[in-house]
Symmetry: C2
Subunit: 193 residues, 2 copies
DNA sequence: GACATTATTGAATATATAGTCAATAATTAT
DNA sequence: ATAATTATTGACTATATATTCAATAATGTC
């Protein structure tokens, strides 16, 4: 009954997301997005409405992927603590990777939180969800005696998450692997035994 | 022998720095800088040459102020550990302050490290200097027996600095004071006894 | 095959933005 | 005073950027 779309919305979103992730909202212009998505302006605007809306959709896409990815790491072993360790090591390996652009949520928090309440709230939603997931897994760890009972899962989760954000910042400084390993080992050591 | 400047370079730099600090390089336009500095385009360009150069000068200004400020905190008590604690508490209080824009070095690392090697190197220079200052103070702490001999000052300094950067990110999320306090207390606890 | 509907194309547009410049003004030296 | 030098002013410019739109194309329905 009408001409069908030639593009796949998820694919386009993913391509736009990669550009925004690498260069931020203000550091990205529509020409880059038009090239990356291989859509013409009309199609891109037809699909998303504006640069703002496209950014928002890309951020959402990243947030959802991020939640899934963290969830899969947090349950990659039967042992909660072993899973958390694996997640931290995964982040550490991303941080040493020159081609990685850190965490899009963290980047966006820094670029746009002070300017857009709507963006800030969305970023917070995802970051808090990750915090809750980690806290839940730390409760599991306490339940099976992998961490001591005097540790507050919520507080420890906040601390670990905070240090992971610090690692994301560190990733922008071309850090030596030794430094990244030293930091992540200290973080892992907090978990115990 | 010539018309004297009506502005004070340091003052202008400080005003420009505040704008870039709050809204980043790409999030700031020349009109904002012209308003904030109360210089006309000609004067501003006469003084700094370009938006790029002005940003670089503002970043440098921040870096130098930052070094001085951290140095003064690290030696605000005779006790090295007590001084480090005071610094962490200072950062924590900035993080809970709604009007604070985090650390300009951290913000710039995230916005521009992937785009300009020159900027990345300058940011790294300042961040590394702060790391060395902290490591030196941790050596002092070890010397006077405030921290145990099996702790590596350099590694611990990296870890503390990393978590402070994470606190800067946290500051963009309108965090509860309770969360900031919980995290900074855990960080402080690492130093202790 | 004509029609209705939606997608695609890419040139065009309005605005924002970084940067320039000629005229003018303030100072010091002679 | 006059000249030499540098600072200030703010209108102007060239370019970049987000966005629009009229023409065209592809589908399903009658």
């Amino acid at each position: 009954m009408a001409r069908p779309k030639e593009y796949d919305r998820e694919t386009v979103l993913s391509e736009a997301m990669n550009v925004f992730w690498a260069t931020g909202y203000f550091g990205t212009n529509m020409n880059q997005l038009i090239k990356a998505t291989r859509l013409n302006p009309g199609s891109l605007y037809g699909a998303f409405g504006s640069k703002d809306a496209l950014f928002f959709a890309a951020l959402d896409h990243y947030g959802k992927m991020s939640i899934e990815s963290v969830q899969s790491m947090l349950y990659c072993h039967d042992s909660p603590v072993e899973s958390i360790r694996a997640w931290i090591r995964m982040v550490a390996s991303e941080v040493t990777d020159k081609d990685n652009h850190g965490c899009f949520l963290v980047n966006t928090a820094i670029e746009l939180s002070g300017r857009s309440h709507e963006i800030q709230e969305r970023v917070n939603t995802y970051l808090e969800e990750i915090g809750r997931m980690l806290a839940t897994r730390l409760e599991d760890a306490r339940g099976v005696g992998e961490i001591s009972n005097d540790k507050d899962p919520e507080a420890v989760a906040s601390f670990i998450l905070c240090t992971i954000w610090g690692l994301r910042v560190l990733g922008e400084t071309s850090p030596s692997e030794a430094k990244v390993v030293a930091i992540s080992n200290q973080l892992i050591a907090l978990l115990g035994k």
